[in-house]
């Protein structure tokens, strides 16, 4: 569709609304510095190269981003085990495990394209803020819905557990 045709489509729509805004549609008044769009691809390319050049660690999983959830997870797991010792261990473990199972089943049922490994990878690579996790997970890779967002929020709240569950953590690190 040509620009003129497109313009007439939205301009026609405004006319139907008895609006005169169509007269000012072509320019919002914003400008950019000279040569900005000539230089931007180079700037972005440079940043990509910088990221690519970051040397791989001998212990890639031990980066600070991963260390924080790892430590949090170990502490959480420790606290959980301690609490299990103090209470009816079978019942507590069943509750905890059932909750994880329930959420995962729900997630799999709602989103067949859900990739467990990718989810954990995102958790591990993120700065562990709900915004970041939701955003990383959201763009294009998964279908979006408010339910899904709520579910992810819930999972985020339990990121220490869901993100670095010892079984998945070990399989991820392998």
């Amino acid at each position: 569709m040509g620009d003129k045709e497109k313009y007439s489509e939205t301009a026609r729509e405004l006319k139907q609304m008895n609006s005169r805004l169509g007269d000012h549609q072509d320019d919002s008044g914003f400008r950019v510095p000279a040569s900005y769009f000539d230089e931007l691809p180079q700037t972005i390319g440079e940043r990509i190269r910088q990221q690519q050049e970051i040397p791989a660690s001998s212990f890639p999983w031990l980066s600070y981003k991963r260390l924080i959830p790892l430590v949090a997870g170990v502490l959480l797991l420790g606290a959980l085990m301690f609490s299990l010792l103090l209470t009816d261990s079978t019942e507590r473990y069943d509750d905890f495990y059932a909750m994880e199972q329930h959420i995962e089943q729900e997630l799999f049922a709602l989103y067949p394209g859900y990739e467990r490994e990718f989810y954990y990878e995102v958790i591990m690579d993120s700065d562990i803020t709900s915004d970041d996790i939701l955003f990383e997970l959201e763009f294009g890779i998964f279908d979006y819905s408010e339910d899904y967002e709520d579910l992810l929020e819930l999972m985020f709240e339990n990121a220490g557990y869901y993100g670095i569950d010892s079984r998945y953590l070990l399989s991820y690190l392998d």
């Binding site: 497109k6 609304m17 000012h24 919002s28 008044g29 400008r31 990509i48 294009g140």
Partner: protein, 181 residues
Amino acid sequence: MQHYSDDELLKLFFDGDNPNYAFNLIVRKHQEAVYWHVRRLVISHEDANDIVQEVFLKAWKALPAFRGDAALFTWLYRIATNESLSFLKKKKRRALISLRDADKQLEETLEADVYYQGSDIQKKIQKAILKLPEKQRAVFNLRYYDEMKYEDMAEVLSTTVGALKASYHHAVKKIEKYIMA
């Protein structure tokens, strides 16, 4: 520059010898649309510049997992929208400003921006747009300035065509009311 379709660019990215080169072509093709969309939401050129770079870095990182369910350009718009709205949310949170003051702050940014050279009426329209809730601003800008089809907007904003039409209609009425006041 040779003009590639998005499908050709994706093929070049996935199957070609040099994905960085293919991605550079993707940036060149979509940078302006992404930039203007972000700029109209965050107003300041400096903020828009930072966000656009982040958008393309995130796209570069996520592109290997791109399933092609959405068109490349709507996917990029979607990242750009989320990144911009998230930026505005963080900015508000950081500055501890109320929703009411947020549009005033953006108005001040608009007035102070050396890269804003709108006429009186263009400026008035911008100020009216800033009175809208953020998501409605995105709806209005996508339709009014980018002339995006409602079907594509539905993909970008994860909502229905009907809801978008209603939102756009209300936005137009609110802006006109502000301008006429």
